[in-house]
């Protein structure tokens, strides 16, 4: 074989190798849907918090007792993408203090928007201090099976690991005094969509 032909052959082989590697890399780039390990974990960053108050209570389906709620926070959070990712199988339950959070959209990267019920204080404000309330991903479970005892257990596990409140992001908008007032849970949807549009990469 002539040197030119050898060179051409080598170039083709190299191109083939690179193409195959590219394909393999693309396949490897698929995110893992295996349930995350080493839970509980924290490390969340608070990007935005919007309090809300409703005229009509709604059922918080994300815990076993299915309590009625009529106030709380809409939160935009940044987290480890592996923890935040939506799965069909077990996801780590997101806790905010003594409450479970409702995941409000499919999460494919590291940002999630959630809804957390919270009581209304005597002053009419949403009684949840995000600066001091721990936020963490607990162990794997379906939220509808999580009850108060489980939450207490998970909180103890989190505190034993030193997990605390979410860090405030550099541009966090924390509007505790400006609660969204709506009639029903359904009327919160535009506010959730707004948060998702502003924080979640599409």
């Amino acid at each position: 074989m002539k040197p030119a032909a050898l060179l051409l052959l080598a170039a083709l082989l190299a191109l083939g190798f690179l193409a195959a590697r590219g394909t393999a890399d693309r396949q490897a780039a698929e995110p893992s849907f295996a349930p995350p390990a080493d839970l509980p974990r924290g490390g969340l960053e608070l990007l935005e918090a919007v309090p809300f108050v409703l005229d009509e209570p709604f059922v918080h389906e994300w815990r076993a007792e299915k309590p009625l709620a009529r106030a709380g926070f809409l939160l935009a959070l940044r987290a480890d993408a592996d923890l935040a990712r939506t799965r069909e199988t077990f996801e780590p339950v997101l806790y905010v203090g003594d409450q479970t959070a409702e995941r409000c959209h499919p999460v494919t990267d590291d940002t999630l928007v959630v809804l957390v019920p919270a009581p209304l204080g005597a002053d009419g404000r949403v009684a949840l201090e995000l600066d001091s309330t721990p936020i963490w991903f607990g162990t794997l479970e379906l939220p509808e099976r999580v009850d108060a005892a489980r939450i207490a257990h998970e909180r103890a596990l989190a505190e034993a690991r030193g997990l605390g409140p979410a860090a405030r992001g550099p541009r966090v908008r924390f509007t505790a005094d400006q609660a969204v007032r709506a009639r029903t849970r359904w009327e919160l949807e535009p506010y959730l969509e707004d948060l998702i549009a502003r924080h979640v990469r599409r």
Binding site: F33, R87, E88, T89, E102, P106, L142, P143
Partner: protein
């Protein structure tokens, strides 16, 4: 002659049955035409001809007669007529066949093999255009009958041969129901489709509704409810809505509250079905009011939603205030796409309605690995109490089953992507719905014949290089509500040497030590082959489940496994088919050695010790090798994937084999070099006899 001897054990152990004389065919029934299945296609190996119920439009129509078994046809010249099935009553009442016939051809039969007596009656011109039933639902297939006018008098009379009858046509021709008919739509049927959205006032009562645009002129149409999976969206099922609505169904896909779990998902299914039925006066301006058949409902769920529909069915069976406008018996079919199994036995536990399962071999989420019980789709199938159907696609990812774009959520080689997955879904879903809801006999072949041998027009042909990755395995297991005789389900009688029917089970000396009967559940959380995990790769049973089967292996030597039919179960003349399911054992060295479809033989033996043997590969398919995916332990090959093999009992009597189906004493499985693949490791289950369901349920 069948050159395969009856298994040696049989000759010395089984008592000889009564030596019954074979009945002459004309003496079988009432005076009138002699019933024979004639339509089919020639195949290379014995039985040399495969009778079928359905042909795709454009396929030639072949018939065959077997003078060695039907001596009355030997050396006869006859006139063969093809009639539209609706003309059969006229033929029966004396109308000249020539006035009714679509095709007429004179045929000269020899006295020889069936191979010499195969004739093409039509090159593929028969129409398969669907027709509306009384409600306007377009029913797949056109029925036809074949008459052999033996006395050539131009009339259908006693002594003539008829493939067809009052209950069912001899065969059906089916048009393309897979290819989209109109650009920028998902419509494969004759109806244009309208899509509307309905806002039920809450986050999880949003609905995306598809129906035939001309619904005002139609009757009451079945309702198909789609419940999506976690992180999915109710607007991602255009491919199902467009497909089914274009054939005359109403499809409602709803927002599904899957995040909290399966219980809330099932609540969504129950509540949205109720809400939809309660809101017909307002949805689409009332266009659907009076046009939804609330007694024929299908629930179809994806992933968590796939488990949710099963849970919803169970809640419905237990009574729930969420359903007041429909009841358990109205939900006629439940189908799950890649379902999870969070809740397990007794909770996500399908009842007696027909149940269907979709599984993607490349699913990276509900991945089927042995280490994840909630990820094993087959649990729900195995818990179902009624008739079960399963469709497995190698190379399909979790996200390929919806139409929402984005990732396929797939892992593994030879991925087929969303487009090919949807073609397979269309090719299977419509026949499934029409089979279960309407008893449409044209659909059964699409659910029961192996994909590589037969599939809908427009579906990917695996023989083409561009479709080499499209591998589809089908399971069909009739439930107790359908006529069947279970020979061995490996559950009701756990003793290895005794079948469910009560007969003896024996194996050759080389095979016996390899037999292991037990729960179809991988024991160690990995697909790595191990001598300590004899059910390696099995994912049909989860914690607490009872689904069981048999595994066996052979290498280089001929082996046999024999199931004796107990007295009282030996007359098989009322059954049409021998059915069983089998799967290759993943990552086993024998499986890897074979590296392809497994082939073996099945033998029937009668009381006079006459045997007839058929290779399963004769029909064009074997037992598929596992999907070659890595992970879940060491090695290559994903979960063991069962597929059903069905053999017409009449085929055992071809070519003059003097097998008496009225006195069959044993069914034997023959393995090894003389019978197919030289080596292999196999799971075997659900050996039974049944007949094609014919009546509208």
């Amino acid at each position: 002659m069948d050159l395969s001897p009856a298994v040696p054990w049989l000759l010395c152990v089984l008592p000889a049955g009564a030596q019954q004389a074979l009945r002459p065919p004309a003496a079988r029934g009432e005076p009138g035409p002699i019933a024979r299945e004639l339509a089919g296609k020639p195949i290379g190996a014995y039985p040399h001809f495969q009778t079928v119920r359905s042909l795709n439009e454009g396929e030639p129509l072949w018939i065959a007669v077997d003078p060695r078994s039907d001596a009355f046809l030997s050396r006869r010249v006859v006139d063969a007529y093809v009639l539209a099935h609706e003309d059969l009553p006229a033929a029966r009442t004396g109308t000249k066949l020539g006035q009714l016939a679509i095709t007429l051809r004179a045929l000269a039969f020899t006295s020889g093999s069936i191979k010499e007596n195969v004739f093409q009656l039509d090159p593929g011109t028969l129409k398969g255009t669907a027709r509306p039933d009384a409600q306007g639902i377009m029913q797949l297939g056109r029925g036809y009958d074949v008459v052999l006018d033996l006395d050539r008098d131009g009339l259908l009379g006693a002594g003539d041969v008829l493939d067809g009858g009052a209950a069912q046509a001899g065969f059906h021709v089916v048009e393309d129901f897979v290819t989209v008919r109109r650009e920028n739509t998902r419509e494969t049927g004759p109806y244009a489709v309208s899509e509307v959205f309905f806002n039920g006032g809450t986050t999880f009562t949003q609905q995306d509704i598809y129906f035939p645009s001309e619904v005002a002129g139609l009757g009451r149409l079945p309702l198909v409810v789609v419940s999506h999976g976690n992180g999915h969206n109710y607007q991602w099922y255009d491919h199902i809505g467009g497909l089914l609505a274009s054939w005359g169904y109403v499809v409602m896909s709803h927002a599904n509250n899957t995040g909290p779990g399966i219980e809330t998902a099932s609540t969504s299914t129950l509540r949205n079905t109720e809400l939809f039925l309660a809101s017909l006066a307002t949805i689409a301006g009332g266009a659907l009011d009076g046009h939804v058949d609330d007694e024929r409902i299908v629930w179809l769920g994806h992933s968590r939603g796939g488990e949710g529909v099963v849970r919803a069915y169970q809640r419905l069976s237990e009574g729930t205030p969420l359903a007041t406008r429909y009841a358990l018996e109205d939900v006629r079919l439940v189908s799950s796409i890649a379902p999870t199994d969070f809740l397990g036995r007794g909770v996500s536990d399908m009842g007696a309605a027909p149940y269907h399962l979709w599984t993607g071999g490349a699913d990276a989420d509900v991945n089927g690995c042995a280490d994840c019980d909630i990820c094993q789709t087959f649990h729900l199938l195995e818990r179902a109490d009624g008739t079960r159907f399963s469709t497995s696609l190698h190379g399909a990812g979790h996200g390929d089953f919806h139409a929402g774009g984005g990732s396929s959520v797939a892992s593994g080689p030879c991925r087929i992507g969303r487009s090919a997955t949807h073609l397979v879904m269309r090719a299977y879903l419509l026949p499934l719905v029409q089979h279960v809801l309407h008893g449409n006999p044209a659909c059964f072949d699409y659910l029961t014949r192996q994909w590589e041998e037969f599939r809908a027009l427009g579906a990917p042909d695996p023989a083409l290089p561009e479709n080499r990755c499209v591998v589809v395995d089908l399971m069909y297991v009739p439930g107790p509500e359908r006529a069947r005789l279970v020979l061995d389900d490996f559950q009701s009688q756990p003793a290895l040497e005794r079948s469910s029917a009560g007969g003896a089970v024996r194996a050759s000396l080389g095979l016996a030590p390899t037999l292991f009967e037990g729960r179809l559940d991988d024991a160690n959380g990995s697909f790595t082959a191990s001598v300590n995990d004899r059910m390696n790769g099995m994912t049909l049973a989860g914690p607490g489940d009872t689904s069981a089967g048999l595994v066996l292996e052979w290498s280089a030597r001929d082996e046999w496994l024999l199931f004796e039919l107990p007295a009282g179960a030996r007359d098989l003349r009322s059954w049409r088919t021998l059915s069983f399911r089998a799967a290759q054992s993943t990552r086993d060295e024998l499986t890897e050695l074979e590296a392809g479809d497994l082939d073996f033989a099945v033998q029937l033996v009668d009381g006079a010790r006459r045997a007839s043997t058929i290779r399963i590969g004769a029909y064009g398919g074997g037992i598929e090798e596992p999907y070659q995916r890595r992970g879940c332990g060491q090695g290559q090959g994903w979960a063991n994937e069962f597929e059903t093999v069905r053999i017409a009992l009449a085929d055992f009597g071809r070519e003059g084999r003097a097998l008496d189906l009225g006195d069959v004493v044993a069914v034997a499985f023959l393995f090894g070099p003389s019978h197919g693949s030289p080596a292999g490791r196999l799971g075997l289950d659900e050996i039974l006899f049944d007949s094609d369901p014919r009546s509208d349920p």
